[in-house]
Symmetry: C2
Subunit: 370 residues, 2 copies
């Protein structure tokens, strides 16, 4: 792989991603200003993740809005591969999905793919991925979802419902398709090969079109689903993609739940957050204070600034002030990190309380096989 | 494929099978006289299908008997791919399994692979294969199994139980393995590729060794299972194989539930049986009566004789008499066919009564997901 190249698949992200190139490579559509305004108009307000290009790309979002304006409902679906505890990057599509659910008054399905992570991680047992599935569910519930319109699917618990749908999808996908889309080889295990049909299954769980807010690395699964959908007489799923959330160490990868120090977990305590940000968060600042005051920092590559932009500072004015101050050299890296640490810890204090309360609620959210 | 060659896979049987060659090709063991006598001694009697080499090959049958004699129990497992109504060839391993169950006092699992037949037959829907699964279950129950020690598994109904076991198996099998064993290609659908792990799953449903009586064409699935078993800390399944039951048209294939006129269905009425045998059953006789009286017939290639040998005439003396009379020319092909027709219709009259009664019993046999 050359220095400028990058890889984006559901199981491997590497290199500095050029999102315009990725849109071309994946064949998705960039979210235009026109589409932004249209969403804003229907929703009654904008969302900072849309304004800031955190959600940057889509498939068939216009069709979803056309149908919606004609009075035809859709449902939402997103998910998580439970390979470890939830980190703050995972929350991005979930928070946005909650906003979509509130604005469009839709039903929501959340899939926890314990089987996928068992297949893809050599050292994880199925008992472990299932345990993480229940842990991750707490983070999802803590964001304010309601059991009346939100159902959590756990693959091994809901396989009775998923498998007959997945089988109809799987019959239309051959090994070549999975090689082309995921880069599978003859060494890939047959659980992994079959798995994409299970990630497709929730798209067809209701007799309505689906909109999927998700990290762009998951797009390949639904490229396959979209090819299969008309062959089984179903509407193609629509997608809206967020960028990859950078690891603490900086761009050139995504946060990984299985690498402790690249990530802030939702279960980290205040002191751990402080230490991780101070020690690991990649800085766009200059080597010393004098030089920083003179030349200023680079917020575009600074991970602390990026976390504020992506998740922790929804106020555009405050964010702009931080940007300007850091860029001019007025704000030092330590000061920027302090802002982020306080924001994260404020968020996590509240989140962790709700997360514990969710333990009593989780049963009400679990999808029941009929 | 050369004239003398043959193909045996779970989905395709072609050519005249040389069973000694097949034993070498698959790496199984021929059932020796010593093993026959040992089974007879433990069971208290012999079974004509063993004596006549209908069951001709095995894997680890000796280990099963060693353990059994030490007081360590095993369980039985066999199955059926429900692509159509049951034909008389399907009954061979089931009848033998019933005998094993009675003699060894074991539990029995019977798997109906509605998903497999959906994946492998382009024109069948999942609803159709599931419908046939319930129909086939009636034939199985009609053979005299008891719900106390016999459970019927239907893949799409019991996937909740099967999938977590299958997933542990699937993680240890890669695409190369399935290419080598089944001859899969890049065009094979991913349902088919994954499926073998679901046929493995019942092997590990109890914490005991399993013995599987089955058509030798199904051996490839369990060759994979036997490779995987030690990797997941389980005993290798033991197998005992029956020969392929010839189509009415003669050797060079097996009976196929999806080709109407190659087969006697358990649901055929007496008149249909008579017509099919008279019209289609391949004859080892001579072109005309004079020549037949002079030269005699060849029972070894005569399908009517073979059906008597394989299933419908358990009495060795009576069978020998038919063999000798046909070979000498004393018995004409029409007379031989008449014996078979009467035997089949006598069997089916009784079977069809029990089959209808089974409709009320089937619920008691169905495996319940915990």
């Amino acid at each position: 792989m050359s220095k400028d190249d990058f890889i984006v698949t559901p199981w491997h992200v590497e290199g500095k991603i050029d999102y315009d190139k990725l849109i071309k490579r994946f064949g998705t559509e960039k979210i235009s200003n026109e589409l932004l305004q249209r969403i804003e108009k229907i929703a009654g307000e904008s969302h900072f993740m849309l304004r800031r290009g955190i959600f940057f790309s889509h498939r068939d979002m216009k069709r979803i809005l056309d149908d919606y304006e004609k009075g035809n409902d859709f449902f939402l679906y997103t998910g998580r591969g439970p390979s470890g505890h939830t980190h703050i990057g995972h929350l991005v599509p979930w928070v946005f999905a909650k906003w979509l659910q509130d604005k469009f008054k839709t039903k929501m399905y959340f899939q926890l793919t314990d089987d996928e992570k068992f297949f893809s991680k050599p050292n994880l047992t199925l008992d472990e991925t299932k345990k993480y599935a229940y842990e991750n569910a707490l983070d999802f519930i803590a964001l304010g979802f309601k059991p009346e319109n939100t159902k959590i699917i756990i693959d091994t618990e809901n396989i009775q419902t998923l498998y007959p749908i997945a089988a109809r999808v799987a019959k239309k996908i051959n090994f070549s398709n999975t090689k082309a889309v995921f880069g599978f080889s003859n060494d890939t295990n047959i659980g992994m090969i079959f798995y994409t049909s299970l990630q497709s299954a929730p798209c067809f769980i209701e007799n309505k079109p689906v909109l999927i807010p998700l990290g762009v690395d998951q797009d390949p699964h639904f490229r396959i689903t979209r090819d299969v959908a008309p062959k089984i007489g179903k509407p193609k799923p629509a997608l809206i993609h967020n960028i990859m959330i950078p690891a603490l160490q900086g761009p050139g990868g995504k946060m990984s739940a299985s690498e402790e120090n690249t990530t802030i977990y939702t279960t980290d305590d205040a002191d751990t957050v402080k230490k991780k940000i101070n020690k690991y968060a990649f800085s766009g600042g200059q080597p010393d204070v004098e030089e920083h005051r003179k030349k200023g920092g680079n917020p575009d590559i600074d991970v602390s600034y990026q976390y504020l932009r992506i998740f922790f500072e929804p106020d555009d004015n405050k964010l702009k002030q931080i940007y300007d101050d850091y860029k001019s050299g007025k704000m030092l890296t330590g000061e920027l990190k302090l802002i982020l640490i306080e924001k994260i810890n404020e968020f996590l204090k509240n989140h962790q309380e709700k997360r514990e309360k969710a333990r009593d609620q989780v049963k009400k959210f679990l999808f029941e096989n009929s």
